[in-house]
Amino acid sequence: MCLAAPAKVISITDREAVVDYNGVRTTARLDTLAEPLAPGDYVLIHTGFAIRRLSPEDGEATLRLFDELANSLDLNDASSSENAEHSRAGNEQQPQTTSDS
């Protein structure tokens, strides 16, 4: 029910935007959105209403958060941990996927 999906804003008229979900175009109401919007932006849409502007940079920032958490722990301990009842092949070195964290 609380499903929401990101879509790209194509054009804006009054309180509605034409948006594109990976090729499918539809309209979304903007009266539930706090941020200003421009064509080319991405928005999160729930039951035909925009609820949050998204930026692709925030997606990249999310990946950095994941890496920061992983880097803050010594992952080499994973499979030797006494708590690891499901041992997965977690002891091999993971490739570092970002350079800035």
């Binding site: 539930t32 959105l33 949050r52 958060l65 958490l69 993971q94």
Partner: protein
């Protein structure tokens, strides 16, 4: 990364799973989420197989369709029988009331329409002279859309049966119920997009357990679980935002302004839990003319029908897994559901049946 905002990366999934393994305590922990979309992502992607056996993740009252009270469904049916066109979201039509479902009412000649948006109900109302009632279910994510159409010069033949609910209030009540033993909450991402962090702090702060807002990609969920375990590991219990790309700390002020303009808080009944103070909405006085209960003289009756053998109440309060219900997969399947958790496509039972949660403990 393929399409923007779809995070799919096996190496990072492995890293996060390893982080969870390191952080998992030797004794078992129970993490509860309250969102059908979370359960769908967890079960569909097989995330539970990534978790140490000590880490249990269960869905609580996260399916708005499932927690809608029989009294509300009975009211919707009564309004349909009075001749109104009833518009609601798809799964709502199959949830049993005391006598029948909305689908059953349709088979007796009532006009029941499935809509994808509150705006669809308005469109239908503008195209007919008949009374059109929108049966408004959903949590804080969905309530602003009902408010938006009521603030947008709605047609006089439109009315709304308000059954929206507020999730932090229910999360707090769950912690006080006997036998729930919840160690941490994975809080719902899109509800949080609207409400921000403050309601969790207000309602859950006194319990001092980890409450981590999580997104819906499998990596988001692994990350949020890791943050919960890290808090437990460090002996902390705070509200933490694990989904900052979609959740601002203050939430969505425009959407909350709409909610506050149209609704005020009231006690409402949750199936499986009972009445929770301030956990629902009713229309403010200026919008009373759109109140379906008043227009059709519906008397709300409190009191829940117990379905013999059905453990939906335990599943909705995270006290049982679907597989622990004796009816699950036997007498109760998506084709012939007995309880609401098998009806709602976001109900834990329905999701476990469709995506193979069955074998799991």
């Amino acid at each position: 990364m393929g399409r923007p905002f779809e995070l799919s990366d096996p190496a990072r999934a492995r890293q996060l799973a390893d982080a969870i393994t390191i952080l998992a305590p030797p004794t078992s922990v129970k993490i509860v989420h309250v969102c059908g979309t979370h359960e769908m992502a967890i079960t569909q992607s097989g995330l539970r197989r990534f978790l140490p056996s000590t880490v249990q993740v269960l869905e609580g009252p996260g399916c708005p369709v499932c927690v809608t009270s029989t009294a509300d469904i009975d009211a919707a049916i009564q309004i349909a029988e009075a001749g109104a066109v009833v518009c609601t979201f798809g799964d709502m039509t199959r949830v049993p009331g005391t006598r029948l479902t909305l689908e059953g009412a349709r088979s007796k000649g009532c006009d029941i329409r499935v809509v994808l948006s509150s705006a669809d109900a308005v469109r239908i109302a503008r195209e007919t002279a008949q009374d059109v009632m929108f049966f408004a279910v959903g949590f804080e994510t969905t309530a602003p859309m009902t408010a938006a159409v009521l603030l947008d010069d709605p047609p006089a033949n439109l009315s709304v049966l308000v059954a929206h609910k507020k999730i932090p209030e229910a999360m707090a009540v769950l912690l006080d119920l006997p036998g729930t033993a919840i160690d941490g909450y994975l809080a719902p991402g899109h509800v949080s997009t609207i409400i921000g962090l403050d309601p969790y702090t207000r309602h859950l702060g006194r319990f001092a357990i980890p409450v981590v807002i999580g997104g819906f990609e499998p990596l988001d969920i692994l990350y949020a679980i890791a943050l919960i375990l890290r808090q437990l590991h460090d002996g902390r219990g705070i509200v933490e935002n694990g989904f900052p790309r979609a959740v601002a700390p203050e939430g969505n002020s425009a959407a909350r302004t709409l909610i506050d303009a149209v609704f005020e808080s009231t006690a409402v009944a949750w199936r499986g839990i009972g009445e929770i103070p301030d956990s629902g909405y009713r229309l403010r006085e200026p919008f009373a003319q759109f109140d379906a209960r008043a227009r059709f003289d519906v008397r709300g009756e409190v009191g829940e029908e117990e379905i013999p053998g059905c453990r939906c109440a335990d599943v909705l309060t995270a006290r049982a897994t679907p597989a622990e219900c004796p009816l699950f997969g036997r007498r109760c399947t998506p084709l012939s559901p007995v309880g609401p958790c098998m009806v709602g496509s976001e109900g834990a039972c329905s999701i476990w049946f469709r995506y193979g949660g069955r074998e799991l403990p």
